[in-house]
Amino acid sequence: MEDRAVIVQSLSKTFDKVRALHEVSFEVSRGEIFGMIGPDGAGKTTLFRILSTLMLPGSGQAEVLGTDVVKNYRKLRKRIGYMPGRFSLYPDLTVRENLEFYATIFGTTPAENYHLIRDIYIQIEPFSKRRAGALSGGMKQKLALCCALIHKPDLLILDEPTTGVDAVSRKEFWEMLLKLKQGGMSILVSTPYMDEAAQCDNIALIQEGRILVTAAPHEVTASFSLPLLGVRSNAPWLLLNDLRQWPYAESVQPFGEFIHVIAQPGHGEPQALLSFLKEKGHPDPEVRVLQAGIEDCFMHLMGAPSHAI
C-alpha cells in the first residue's frame, strides 16, 4: 500500500484572473493528521475541493490515496470522507435520518460501521430524533463528522470543521480526531485557528494561495530565529504605542494578555526593553523571553510590517 495519502505537486488554480492557489506542493503520510493552516481566502477550500475531486486543478498534479484526482475521480470518491466548510447536513431531517441517508448513498448502513462513529455518535444519540437544524454548532459538527465517516473512508478531508464553533466544542472535536488517527485514519484538516496547529503531526501554513512552510509544528516554531519578548502591564493600549517607539523592535503585536515584541538580532535581553519602558513612564511592566508559537511564525512569515494602521 502507498505510504502517502496525499501527494500534491505544484498545483495552481485561477478564478477570473484571481490566483487562488499558486504552485502548491506538499505530502500527507498515511495515518497522520495534516493541518492546512491559514486565514479565510488563503485557498484552503479550493485546495480541498480539488483533492475531493469536486474541482479541476488549473495546473499541476494531485494524487490522493495513490489515485489521480482528475483521471480516476469516481473511484476515489468512494474512498474519501469529505466534510465541506459549511455543515453539510439536511436541517429538516433528524439526526438519525441524516446519518442513515449518508450511509445509504454510500451503499452501507449505520450499523455496519458503527464502531467507527460510536464514540462520537454516543454524544449526539440523546438527540437522535431532533432535526439537525435545531442542533447547536458543536453538535452539528459532530453529526457532520459521523456522516463523513459512515462509509469507512481511508482519508478524511475536513474543511474548517471548527470555524464558528466555541472553544469547548473545538477541543472536543480535536480529541475525536486524535482518536480516529489512533485507529489508523489519515486526516487532512484545515483551520484558521493557529492554536489548533499543535494537535497536528505536520502542518502547512498557507496565505494568499501560497504555502509558506511545511513541517512538524515544533520544527516550525524552532526555526523562528529572532529573539521574542513578551510584555505586559496594566495599561496595554499605552504600552502598545510606546513599544512601537522602541528602536530595536522588528514587530509589536498584541497576543492575549502579553504583547509580543520581536527584537532585532542581539537585542533579546529583557533588561534593555525594561529600562526603555521605565523611561517612558510605565511603573511596573513585566518583560520576559518567550518561545515563539505558530501564530508568531505565521505572522513573521507573512512579512508582517511592524506598524499596523
Binding site: 491559514g38 486565514p39 479565510d40 481566502g41 488563503a42 440523546p126 447547536s136 454548532g137 458543536g138 474548517e160 470555524t163 464558528g164 464553533v165 466555541d166 472553544a167 469547548v168 466544542s169 473545538r170 477541543k171 484558521p192 485557528y193 493557529m194 492554536d195 496565505q207 496595554p236 493600549w237 502598545l240 503585536q253 498584541p254 497576543f255 492575549g256 494578555e257 501564530e295 505565521f298 505572522m299 507573512m302 508582517a304 499596523a308 494602521i309
Partner: protein
Amino acid sequence: MKEEAVISVSHLYKRFGHFTANDDLCFEVGRGEIFGFLGANGAGKTTAMRILCGLSKPTSGDVKVAGFDVYTQTDHIKRNIGYMSQRFSLYEDLTVLENIRLYGGIYGLSRQKIREKSAQLLSRLEMEHMQNSLIKSLPLGWRQKLAFSVAIVHDPPIVFLDEPTGGVDPLTRRQFWNMIYEAAHRGITIFVTTHYMDEAEYCDRISIMVDGQIAAIGTPADLKASYGVSSINEVFIILARGRQAVTE
C-alpha cells in the same frame, strides 16, 4: 465598574416557550469599556445581543441601552448604536464609497458630514485608492476593517460587534483590535463576541455565558486568578464543560 453605565441589564429573562434562552442576566457596561461577551454556541449570546440592539423584547427584566428602554424606546436605541457582524455587514455589489454614503445616510448624517467622514475614514484606513472598488473585490481583512469604521461612522456611544474577526488572518485580526482600542479610547463602548480566546484577553471585562446564564463576569486577570489558571481559554473550558456534564 465605571461610574457611567451605558448598558445596564438587570434580571433579564427571555423565554421561547419552555426554553429559557436568557436566565436572569444582570450586568452593566461602562462608557468607553471594551466588554467581551463570551459563551458556547447556543448559550444565548445572540438572543441577548438582539435584545440589547432593540431587535427583540425581553420576557421580563429591566434593560437600558444608551439610557433608553428596550421595551419602549427601540427607535432611539437603534439610532444610538453601531452594529457589525461577521456574516453581513457591507453590500458586496456597492463600492467602498457608496457603502459609506449609504450608512451615513441611514443614520441621518448631512451630506457635508458624510463627505468629511468618508475622507477621514478612508485616509485613516489608507484606502483612498480603493474608494471606488467594489466591496467584493476587497480581501476579507480590509472588508472587516472597513465594516467596523462604517459601523461607527455616526459616532454612536455603543457599538456591537458579533464575531467580527472570524476567519481573518492573524495580522488583520490585530489591526482590527487596534481599531477597537482606538475607538474605546475615544469613548465608544465596545460590546464584542468572539471565539478567539486570546482576544478575550484584550477586553477590559468579559462575561462568560453558559446555558442562558452568566457563569462568570470580571476582568480577565480576576477571572484567571479566581479559577487558578493561566488563560481565559481554560476558564472558558472549565465553565462550559462543567455545566455541560451536569446537564447532559
